[in-house]
Every structure is written in structure tokens, then in C-alpha cells.
């Protein structure tokens, strides 16, 4: 497929392809971080993760409409406000769901799976009733559109760079919260030994609620960011859920580093294969590889030592 191209042309295509892989990596990490916290740290299989993302996307949509009609001067910056609101909205809903539903099901993982799947259907129908069955168009500020021309032939999409930056920021913040703060210590303590953590005075119920809220809040931010690259409709969340679980399970459910490593592996494999093969074949090969690796290493790429 490369005959008839100069080296310079091929060089720039490969550079752009490298960026495409990195952007896909950022998207995967952003999708999976929230779930990695909920699934990895709490063991809750949250099938409604995609719907929490779409809630964030709808918040962004409302925010864009509201700001363009009331304060058009703020429009270029509205995306940051929207992301903050998306975090709060999805986080608050997450805490509500934890309080009303999840906390009764901690010892019954399969029931959580069914309950959250039901929740995802309920949320989808609520979105459909409130916002209509059709997809909504989120208008983006001009500076987020288009691409940066690095050289004459290499162009990198700005929204891709934005997602990369956002992912890095959130990852660093999560790392700081989980591994450098007292609260994060509490979360890890509860995960490693719930009874003992309770015995030393950690309010485990509260930790659970905030952890679940944090995971959902990050899902909201991800959903908000994905209005730049994807669609916003009642069932759009379903588009992400499979890839999200794939990344988390492949990485080793209890390890944030594993999530990142697995997102990197899957995204690079998929984006490279998509370039050389066709889209569907690339997906099949990626999934096959993951299945084979999980057969050899059922615990995922990385695993923490946990007392059971």
C-alpha cells in the first residue's frame, strides 16, 4: 500500500498515526478510570457506567445552550464550566445510587450487575423522555475545532490534544488522591481489609459512598469530553461500555497502573491494526489477543497483593 509515496509523506503519515494511537489511548484511559475505581476498588460491576458518562454529555449540552443564550462572551471557556458541572452532576447521582441501591448489594456481585444494568435502562429512558430520542448536537467553541499543523504535512487534531491533556491531569489528580491523601489511604484500607479498616475507626460506609461518587464523577467528565469526538444521545453510553470493561479487566481490576498499561496496549494494537487491516478485522484481532492473554493470565496484566 505504500508504493508511490515519498519518504517524507510516509514519515508524516506515521507521525499522525502515532498521535492517533495516543489519542485513542487517552480516550480509553478517560473512559476506564472511573470504572477502574468503582470496579477495582469496590468490586462493583457498574453496568450503568456509560449512562453516567452520557449524563455528563447532556450537562455539557445544557451548559452550551445556556451560556450561548445568556452570556455569549463566556462561550469560549464554557467547556471548563461544563466539565466541572458534569463531575458534580454525575458524582451526585452516583452517591444517590450508592445510597439507594448499591450498598445493599455489596456481598452479591452478580445482583449488582443486574441491578446496575436495570439502572442503565431506566436512565436511558429518562434521557429519552427528557431530551428526546434523537441525538443532540453539542456546539463547541471554535478554538477546540480544527487541527494544529505541526509541519506542512503533519496535522494533529486540537480536540485530541485536549483529551490527552485532560486525561493526564485527571490521572495525576487521581494518583494524588488515592496514594498521597489520607482519604485515599482510607479507601485503600477498606479495599484491603474492610473489617479491620472499620475496627481502626474508618467510616467504611462513607468511604464507599464517596468512592462510588468519585468514580461516577470522572465518568461524567469523560462524557463531557467525548462530546468533542462522539455522539450524544440516550443510548450513546452503550457505545463505550464494552471497551471500558475490556480495558479494566485486561489491566487487572485492582490496579490503576494496570488500567493505564492495558489502555496503552489495546489502543496501540487497535490503532496500528486499523491502519494496516480493516476496521472490523482490527477489532476482532484485538479482542482475540485480549482473550488469549487473559487465558494465560486470568488476573490481568497487573495485580496487587490483596489479603482475601
Amino acid at each position: 500500500m505504500f508504493e508511490g509515496y515519498s519518504l517524507a509523506e510516509l514519515g508524516s503519515i506515521f507521525a499522525m498515526q502515532g498521535f492517533a494511537g495516543l489519542i485513542l489511548f487517552s480516550v480509553f484511559v478517560l473512559m476506564a478510570l472511573g470504572l477502574a475505581i468503582i470496579f477495582g476498588q469496590m468490586g462493583v460491576i457498574n453496568m450503568a457506567h456509560g449512562e453516567f458518562m452520557i449524563l455528563g454529555a447532556y450537562v455539557t449540552y445544557l451548559c452550551s445552550n445556556f451560556i450561548s443564550s445568556t452570556a455569549p462572551a463566556l462561550f469560549p471557556a464554557y467547556f471548563f464550566i461544563a466539565m466541572a458541572l458534569a463531575f458534580l452532576a454525575s458524582g451526585a447521582l452516583g452517591m444517590l445510587v450508592e445510597w439507594a441501591m448499591i450498598r445493599f448489594l455489596y456481598r452479591r456481585p452478580l445482583d449488582t450487575l443486574l441491578a446496575t444494568w436495570g439502572l442503565s435502562l431506566i436512565l436511558q429512558q429518562i434521557f429519552r423522555s427528557v431530551f428526546g430520542a434523537r441525538e443532540v448536537g453539542v456546539v463547541l467553541p471554535d478554538w477546540l475545532m480544527g487541527s494544529v499543523a505541526v509541519t506542512d504535512t503533519i496535522e494533529v487534531p486540537i480536540n485530541g490534544l485536549f483529551v490527552m491533556g485532560l486525561t493526564m491531569t485527571i490521572t495525576v489528580v487521581i494518583y494524588a488522591v488515592m496514594f498521597r491523601s489520607r482519604w485515599g489511604q482510607g479507601v485503600r484500607a477498606v479495599m484491603q481489609n474492610r473489617v479491620m479498616a472499620g475496627a481502626v475507626g474508618i467510616n467504611t460506609e462513607k468511604v464507599d459512598r464517596y468512592t462510588f461518587g468519585l468514580g461516577c464523577g470522572i465518568a461524567g467528565v469523560a462524557g463531557s469530553a467525548f462530546t468533542m469526538v462522539g455522539s450524544t444521545g440516550p443510548t450513546s453510553g452503550q457505545l463505550y461500555i464494552v471497551d471500558t470493561f475490556l480495558v479494566v479487566v485486561f489491566g487487572g481490576a485492582q490496579s490503576l497502573i494496570g488500567t493505564i498499561a492495558s489502555a496503552f496496549t489495546i489502543s496501540q494494537a487497535q490503532s496500528t491494526m486499523e491502519f494496516f487491516l480493516s476496521g472490523s478485522t482490527a477489532k476482532v484481532l484485538t479482542l482475540l489477543t485480549v482473550v488469549v492473554i487473559l487465558m494465560l493470565r486470568p488476573q490481568g496484566l497487573f495485580v496487587l497483593k490483596v489479603r482475601r
Partner: protein, 424 residues
């Protein structure tokens, strides 16, 4: 659930509205039978005579079904079709109904689930004994209900453009089959843009694959070249790699049949990657005004869509249709190709019943060929013997406001050819 009687006043806003006058004027071309007093007509055509197969027909009413998804993934697409069919039925009732009988609608929800479609179709035909069903959207749902319609001898009016390779006594296809949508558009882009190379990209299921097969044959028959053909799973949201491939192969035309949420991702990422659709020719067979809502006009402006109908078509029929549609469903609503095809269903059925002077399914099926509808928003249409419509092919150019400028239409109606020789 939901026996839904259409309120005709909602449409016309009372007897003196200018719209009603326009409607009546517009319908003057139709057989005057519709304007006769209802009682007289029902007496002239007694129920025993127009209904020999125990359909749900009384002296004053006739029941029909609407079978679309109003919940689930497909609700996005099917909502417009439901609205158009209800509008057509309300207008027909306003004119006195069909053979002197008012249409009553029983609406069922297929819930985006193909077995549910089959089950609801059976319910409409066996329990409700409806005289006709307007419905289905995806090919999968049509394939699911087809055996039901053939077994219980029902009549389905199917609105979506589709891949062809099907023909049934029990179905009238009011959308385009693949060759009607594809060939004229490719010829136009070849002539207009001097296109030599094409990159085909689509979602991975039967319709894009069949359509691209036809497109590829046509392209290669004319000595042009397909430089890439790619399919992505439904719901795929990351197109950066394939966009790089497009940049590498530099096709004259990107030929797109990506559907659903993937559509939105594809156009947003094309734009973000710096591909300017005003410079790079892109032709799509899967974006109508409905999809534009989600994609956003600013992301797709400049692309060409190949359809048979655009909301911006300028003709008296369409102006009346758009006004009536907005009056019934709100000024914000948009009308895409399939919505218009949905609107044709009830009208074609009415005209057929009047020609056959009967509601019997066999007589409707036999009388369908040759039915002409002069009031169609897309312009004059005629039913072919193969139960598809003769219709024009048009090319529209996407604008930032979510509408299309019609830049080309075929001079003549294109003959439907669901089993194209040399293209399979």
C-alpha cells in the same frame, strides 16, 4: 396498548385556517371520491363488499397499524416516520377518510428489538385485523416481520431506503432500493468533480456492504478505481486511523455509509483532523436532516448527500407538507428522506384502496402496481410492478444550518430494480 385516534383539529386548527383551504385545493387533483359526504359513500360501498376477509372495517371506520420503535436505540430514527405517518392519516381523515371510512390507528412499539417487531406484527394482523401496517425501519426488523405478513396475509408499507434484493406481494417499499440511491449519484460526482478514485467507508452490516458492492461494481465498470474499502462495527467511535489512511490514499471522493452514533464521531473527527469538506469531496448515502441534528451542521457543511428527498425541495407539494408537518409536530422538527417516504405510505394505501374499491389485502396487492401519487412532497411517484416506487435521485449539499441545498436531480424517474443484474 395505545389505540391512538388522530385528532384532525390539531392539524388544521379549525375549519377556517388557510392551511385547510390549501390542503383542499391541493387535493383537488385527487379523485373527487374523497370529497363526497361520508354517509353516501359508505352506503355506495357497503362493508360486506369492500371487506370480504374480516378485516377491522366497519361502516364508518377502518383500523390500520403503525409499527415502529418508540423506545430503544432505533427510536432516534423512527420517530420521524411515526410523525409523518400520523400526519398523512390525519390529513386523509380530514378529507373524509378512505372509501368513506375514517382511519383509526393502533400504534405498537417494536422497541428496537426484532423479535418484538415480529410479535407485534402478529398481534396487529391476528388480533386487531388491521387493513394495513405502516412501519419498520431497519432491514433487520423488516426481515423479522416479513414471514408474519406473508403467513397472515397483511400489507406493510416500508419507508426506509434499503439494500434491495427483496420483493414481496405483502410489502410496498416506499423508500429507494440501493441502485436508485447509488448509481445516479456516482454518475453525477464523476461528471461534476471528474472523480477517478473513491474511498468507501461504512458501518459493518448488510446495508452498507451491499450498497458498497453495487457502488464498487459501478465505479470499476466505468474505469475508475476504489482505493480503499473499510467497515467498522456499529457504534465504533474512533476514526483517526482510517482518516490517516484516507489522507494517505488521497481519494477524489470519500463515499460514506456510516450510520448511527458512529456517524457523529466520523464527521467530528474528519473535521478535527483538518479535512475540509469544501475541498475534499465527500458523498454520503446515510446522512439526512435527522442525522444532521446530532452531527451538527458546522461539522459536515460542504458534504454531498444522495437521497430522493430533501426538506428544502422547492415545489408546492413540499411547501404544504413542510408547513403541515411543522404545524403538527413543532417548528423545530426536521424532515429527512425516510420521514417523507413514511408520509407516502398512507396516501398510497388510500389511493390503492380507492382504485380496488376494496380493503381486501389481495386486491390491494394486485391494484398497487401503477398507482400514481401526484401530491407527494418529493414530486410525482408511481408504484412499480415490483412494489417499489419510481422516483428521482437527488444530490444535496449540506449547509451549516442543518439543511441541504439541492444541487442536482435526475431528469426522469428512476426505475426501481431490487435485483440488479451485473451488480450482485
Amino acid at each position: 396498548m395505545s389505540s391512538d385516534k388522530i385528532n384532525a383539529d390539531k392539524l388544521t386548527g379549525g375549519a377556517h385556517s388557510p392551511l385547510r383551504r390549501k390542503l383542499l385545493l391541493g387535493m383537488a387533483a385527487l379523485p373527487a371520491i374523497g370529497l363526497l359526504p361520508r354517509g353516501a359513500l359508505a352506503q355506495a360501498l357497503p362493508t360486506d363488499a369492500v371487506n370480504t376477509t374480516k378485516l377491522a372495517v366497519t361502516d364508518s371506520t377502518v383500523k390500520v397499524g403503525i409499527l415502529h420503535s418508540t423506545t430503544g436505540t432505533m427510536a432516534i430514527s423512527e420517530t420521524g416516520s411515526v410523525q409523518a405517518e400520523k400526519l398523512a392519516i390525519a390529513q386523509i381523515n380530514e378529507m373524509g377518510g378512505v372509501l368513506g371510512r375514517k382511519i383509526e390507528v393502533i400504534q405498537e412499539d417494536g422497541a428496537s428489538d426484532w423479535p418484538t417487531f415480529a410479535e407485534k406484527a402478529r398481534k396487529l394482523l391476528v388480533e386487531d385485523k388491521v387493513a394495513a401496517v405502516f412501519g419498520c425501519w431497519t432491514s433487520a426488523s423488516r426481515k423479522a416481520v416479513l414471514p408474519v405478513f406473508e403467513q397472515y396475509n397483511g400489507m406493510l408499507y416500508y419507508p426506509t431506503f434499503y439494500e434491495g434484493l427483496e420483493q414481496s406481494k405483502n410489502v410496498i417499499y416506499t423508500g429507494q432500493e440501493a441502485t436508485q440511491q447509488i448509481l445516479a449519484g456516482l454518475d453525477w460526482v464523476t461528471k461534476e468533480k471528474g472523480a477517478k478514485t473513491f474511498f468507501l467507508i461504512g458501518s459493518d452490516y448488510i446495508w452498507p456492504r451491499t450498497s458498497n458492492k453495487i457502488a464498487r461494481k459501478h465505479i470499476e465498470m466505468h474505469g475508475q478505481k476504489v482505493v480503499g474499502e473499510e467497515y467498522f462495527p456499529l457504534g465504533h467511535t474512533q476514526f483517526n486511523s482510517v482518516i490517516n489512511k484516507i489522507k494517505l490514499t488521497k481519494p477524489d471522493v470519500i463515499y460514506a455509509s456510516v450510520v448511527g452514533g458512529s456517524n457523529v464521531a466520523f464527521y467530528k473527527q474528519l473535521k478535527a483532523a483538518g479535512i475540509d469538506l469544501n475541498k475534499q469531496t465527500l458523498m454520503t448515502i446515510s446522512v439526512t436532516e435527522d442525522e444532521m441534528l446530532g452531527i451538527g451542521g458546522e461539522n459536515i457543511a460542504g458534504a454531498y448527500a444522495c437521497m430522493k428527498y430533501f426538506q428544502s425541495l422547492k415545489n408546492p407539494n413540499n411547501e404544504k407538507f413542510v408547513a403541515a408537518f411543522k404545524k403538527m409536530w413543532g417548528g423545530e422538527s426536521v424532515i429527512g428522506d425516510v420521514t417523507q417516504a413514511g408520509y407516502l405510505g398512507p396516501w398510497l394505501w388510500k389511493l390503492t384502496a380507492e382504485k380496488a374499491k376494496s380493503f381486501d389485502i389481495d386486491k390491494i396487492a394486485a391494484a398497487s402496481a401503477g398507482i400514481e401519487f401526484t401530491g407527494a412532497p418529493e414530486g410525482y411517484v408511481r408504484v412499480h410492478e415490483n412494489h417499489h416506487l419510481w422516483s428521482k435521485t437527488r444530490v444535496g449539499r449540506a449547509r451549516t444550518d442543518g439543511q441541504f441545498d439541492v444541487v442536482f436531480e435526475t431528469a426522469d424517474l428512476i426505475e426501481p430494480n431490487p435485483f440488479p443484474k451485473g451488480y450482485q
